[in-house]
Symmetry: C2
Subunit: 424 residues, 2 copies
């Protein structure tokens, strides 16, 4: 398995560059041999430009971070509980934060869990890694949406997982295709990994009817559901839908969420909810072997900030209209500037939308062209599992100002039109 | 490999208890089937006692943490660089911290490395995990001191490593035994893992002559050295010795250290130095898959605190005499209260000493007896690799007050004497 580690020198300098570029996608594409050297050179050129408009990242808007209130929380922690905040602590997490998570999930996601089913982790990526480490043997298969969240594939790859892709549409994973997969897959898949709310990369949300169908199918076939919900609180339209965990009444489910999109990602604080005691007790030593525990300090700072419901919910309420406006602006700009034959998702929340160009457009080639106009996006092909689709792209709308969104999409539209006119 | 994960329900409640007990050792012993249910019950009883004197942890003294100065560093970071501190960042680490590490290691450890050879990690445990993940295939062997640091074994176990133990004495790993191992081992071991300064659990320091011999042997046999140096700055006696990395002029070496013992462990900030570019470029994606990056915030807070050399070195200078006095008090108390036939190491630094009881003492049984007198330690047998040694124990001297050290060792001496008199 360690030998499965990639060797792609050419891309290393990317990682040291601006994190507003989703270098993980490009690294991954390179690793899979799906990114050409010419594309790498283009990306490197783009990431070096100071004035590029980038829709290529997955970053929340830093100007919305609650910096002052978080600073107050840090001071409160260090003044009142400094010794414990700077000391080693237990692997499972800071008990008041675990309790807060269980109460929070009951309040916002109808999830009934006890604090001792909550494991605090160092960001959602660690949860993907720990579940992969604990549940997956080499060759085991994971059912995954297509296109899929690359961070999950990157984590599960380390354990030599295989992927069974289920088609998605504007309502998320298609139950009929899942049923086919469940009936055909031999041996039985180990996990059904799903991002039901405002999916990365597609932005789509799994409908309530499908949630119920998928929960029922997973139960019938005895496949554990791993529900990854980083974006659930960022809803700008439509009605809140219950989590799969809630619909399944916690049976054979793992649920994960984070403060990365509600407060900020820089602290690396997230959580797994694992109602199955036997599984919980296998994941804890895996975490202990991986990093002992998540920072005692950042756990307390997050708790101290979030425990004041008026502050925490007030902050979310302030963020939502800003993101909603950026999403609206991006959709309006796409309508205005994109040529005939292109389409895009209309996400009800989250950070991303997914655009489909006319069939003849290869978005990897388009990126080269777009970079000359100083606009960047993520070509869609690395997100496709076991399929080659060349004409899709992921666009992030959370991390650019209103003006940049309009101007960036205008440039992008021009680049598409130039591409269609034969320019490369 | 995931199936190698342990299942030991009985010990889980330990983890939720006081971290001043080294629950990882007990978990590990349970996992290896080396801890009896009766011992588990005893330990649980001990960890529930509020007034127990524990030498069982591995914690630095929290009363020495530089809380106010660290709080000022946090405020400075959030006031001046709050958006970046709370945002996602690059996997390799915060560039000024990487630069600081390279300058710091040149200053204190004669290590010549560039900032781009430094990878910031979420505590040393993560470095063990990432090196295991990157270098070890199932069945690969790692050369390790005997007794050994358990955190390393716990990390490497996840990758199904085998261990080749090399005997140690009061000067650390014995070169003649290493030579025998190097000549006999087939296939060639993948790694020589070593803690040269104030070893955990033994407290011993590898002598300069042996450092040179071991570096030469590793070079001759082409075995990479993984030098783990968490305690190096905590020297209370004797002269600073150059790191193996420095002696090897960085050839085929990995070096790891941390701020956990110089500032505080609660932030989870440490670093790997990997001069081999090809290896560095394999470890970075492993870290990205494991947790994306170490907290942008704690990295900046640590940097902001440590960059003021007068503050950082002044803090270390204040800690050293406190720890030195505790070490001296523990040694004096052992001399006063321990029966004939027992002995212990005289560490020149670090947090631990290692005591050997008369042959007839089984320290696991002794722990039960000691717990009745409300004193705790870590039985030594889980630290022994491929050997059964029953009469050793690890004693931590950093995390108890002067009075507690004297009183605790008095109780422990009485317990040993009672044990020798037949009490169980």
């Amino acid at each position: 398995m360690p030998r499965a580690q990639p060797r792609y020198r050419g891309l290393m300098s990317l990682a040291a560059s601006d994190p507003s570029f989703d270098t993980r996608v490009f690294r991954f594409a390179a690793r899979m041999g799906r990114l050409k050297a010419s594309a790498i050179r283009e990306i490197l050129k783009v990431t070096d430009m100071p004035d590029v408009i980038s829709f290529a990242g997955g970053l929340p808007a830093p100007e919305l971070f609650p910096i002052q209130q978080f600073a107050r929380a840090c001071q409160e922690v260090l003044a009142n509980d400094g010794q414990a905040a700077l000391q080693y602590s237990v692997t499972e997490g800071y008990p008041p934060l675990r309790r807060w998570v269980s109460e929070y999930l009951a309040r916002v996601n109808e999830i009934q869990c006890t604090p001792d089913q909550v494991l605090i982790i160092s960001g959602s990526q660690q949860g993907l890694d720990l579940i992969g480490k604990t549940l997956l043997d080499p060759g085991d298969s994971v059912i995954i949406e297509n296109p899929a969240y690359l961070g999950a594939i990157q984590a599960f790859d380390a354990y030599e997982a295989q992927y069974i892709n289920v088609a998605t549409d504007d309502e998320g994973m298609i139950p009929a295709d899942l049923l086919r997969v469940l009936q055909e897959a031999k041996p039985k898949p180990k996990l059904l990994y799903i991002v039901p709310n405002f999916h990365n990369p597609t932005g789509v949300t799994l409908s309530l009817r499908r949630r119920k169908e998928i929960v029922a199918m997973a139960a019938e076939f005895g496949i554990p559901i791993f529900e990854d919900d980083p974006y659930g609180r960022l809803r700008y339209a439509g009605e809140h839908l219950p989590s799969l965990m809630a619909l399944a009444q916690s049976r054979n489910c793992i649920y994960m969420s984070t403060v990365s999109k509600t407060i900020a990602p820089g602290m690396r604080v997230a959580w797994l909810v694992i109602p199955d005691r036997e599984l919980f007790e296998r994941v804890v030593p895996a975490k202990q072997a991986a990093d002992l525990h998540t920072s005692s300090f950042t756990q307390r700072a997050v708790y101290t900030y979030a425990k004041d419901q008026a502050v925490f919910e007030g902050h979310i309420a302030e963020m939502l209209p800003v993101y909603a406006r950026r999403r609206d602006l991006m959709i309006e700009s796409l309508e205005r500037y994109m040529p005939e034959g292109s389409s895009w998702t209309h996400p009800e929340g989250g950070l991303f939308l997914w655009a489909r160009m006319p069939e003849s457009v290869d978005t990897e080639e388009l990126l080269s062209l777009a970079s000359r106009s100083k606009v960047a996006f993520v070509p869609g092909y690395p997100f496709w599992v076991n399929r080659v689709v060349r004409n899709t792209m992921r666009l992030n709308f959370s991390n650019a100002s209103d003006d940049m969104i309009v101007e960036g999409i205008r440039r992008l539209g021009d680049a598409v039109k130039a591409y269609l006119a034969g320019e490369r």
